[in-house]
Symmetry: C2
Subunit: 339 residues, 2 copies
Amino acid sequence: MKNTSAAYARAGVDVDLGNTLKDRLPALVKKTHGPRVLGGIGNFGGLFRAAFHGMKDPVLVASMDGVGTKLKIAVLANRHDTVGEDLVNHCVNDIAVMGAQPLFFLDYLGAGKLDPKVFTEVVAGLARACRRADCALLGGETAQMPGLYHGADYDLVGCIIGVVDRKNILDGSRVRLGDALVALPSNGLHTNGYTLARHVILEKLKLDVHDRVPGLRGTVADELLRVHRNYEPALRSVPARTLHAAAHITGGGIPDNLPRVLPANCRAVISKRQLRIPTLFRIIQEAGKVSDEEMRRVFNLGVGMVLVMSANDAPSIAKRLRGRIIGHIERGERGVEFA
Amino acid sequence: MKNTSAAYARAGVDVDLGNTLKDRLPALVKKTHGPRVLGGIGNFGGLFRAAFHGMKDPVLVASMDGVGTKLKIAVLANRHDTVGEDLVNHCVNDIAVMGAQPLFFLDYLGAGKLDPKVFTEVVAGLARACRRADCALLGGETAQMPGLYHGADYDLVGCIIGVVDRKNILDGSRVRLGDALVALPSNGLHTNGYTLARHVILEKLKLDVHDRVPGLRGTVADELLRVHRNYEPALRSVPARTLHAAAHITGGGIPDNLPRVLPANCRAVISKRQLRIPTLFRIIQEAGKVSDEEMRRVFNLGVGMVLVMSANDAPSIAKRLRGRIIGHIERGERGVEFA
């Protein structure tokens, strides 16, 4: 008896499709599950054993985030296999800068009408990134909301839970005057600044997502859908005594994110010359007539993560991580200065 | 220097408003924090101590959900102080049916343009429900996504994490033949069936949200914005040896949700006469010409939670919780039968 949803279907919701998708590609999702995940899929909640061996005072670290209007590019290009990775990696980075390793992740996909192809590609991307990050895809929700989401639009939200031993929490308290700032390169815009980028590239430059970006190798879709990098392995590879703080460069750019991990009286001084802003950002700045200051607040400008570390160790670590020393910590008002 | 976002503002994003709201009403949020929450607000992730005293094998239980198109009613009525409670209570119930107590909650609010009034009302509702549920509002994200959300529309998503000692997980394995089904009354539609309810009430009956619903006391907004009940205290009050399983009645109704907690060869037989469907659902059914079967899959029909328990204890517990025995468990194919 599957044809009982006549009235609801007329109102725009496909109950049967929703229920089918609720099973959420169990094989893909199962691959992300280690021995700490209990039970099957389809419960009211996901189960994860809270056994944190070797930790004296385990602390859960949680973060919730979305992909932003990068989703609009995915919809225009009809390419949905990367936004799931963007979301997972963004979330992993947000807790990695606090010293945490990921445990599990949940997602929410809201759409007007569920398209099985879109759904499958998105979940495949989520599962791929979770597996790489050693993080269980523990649950999720798909909501059909006709009248709220229009056309092929959808929103994608994720929540990550990780764990860190209390003594290893990175909260900026270890930052010292003279520390070096090591920038790890971003892979394009990551997940920030897309409203402005779309405005400039699609409307001002009147490029289609399938057009090549003048001066770059890829199409608009290629350049704007580059996957948000996961920096957790890089962070984990830096010895705890060397790494004093880390800032994930997302909305608000370096000026808004780096100060969040600086103690009072610590000022980050960044060499403009060392920033080496990638071409894509320069194209957006020029075509959009955007000021330097606004560019720094809206975009990552090629820097996905800033590590604050002892100056002695910085050169070798920067080299190993293919990063670059872009500045240092001075005494002064908490904030960032571009010199 | 707050006037640096000229280009981004033209593209539709208010960076300064976003940053202001990022502080997320710290006083309200702080009130939900107990001693297990570490650090301040504004970190990249929220911190919660994973110390579960008295539990031998603690298991985290996680669930992610949205409010659905009940949000459209909130927008039409410009009344945003209840949807936060809906979301928290929905999430609390989803993990309570697995035996878990809530620990912490995170939210995501996506909108075209952030309206401070809406934002404040929503977060106040979230915080109020979290405080009542003894659950920390640990973090959240607000995203301005012009071009994805239209007009005053927004989406609201929540993720809850709770904990249960492994031996106390309610997974249905304790359900026995002859067990009684106790229904706990819902408070209106809770958060399900709104696409159909809106279609019937706003379009077919052509009622405005401020019109009184014929046959009921309240306006359309009053009746459709009734707050999703939190059943966690009721569940907790039933002795563990008595309570064999619990099903939160959400999307899919009793027929889709109750079987999720039934073992093989256990069939729930529900007395139609005992269901006593509230007037609001009868109005929707009649005006929308919806079949009985579809009504049962789309709406909770007055039942927010079904408890499966030993038949001996059911009458006194049903009375104390102001519930009603609506059926029992028989041998048969896993499923639900309305007799």
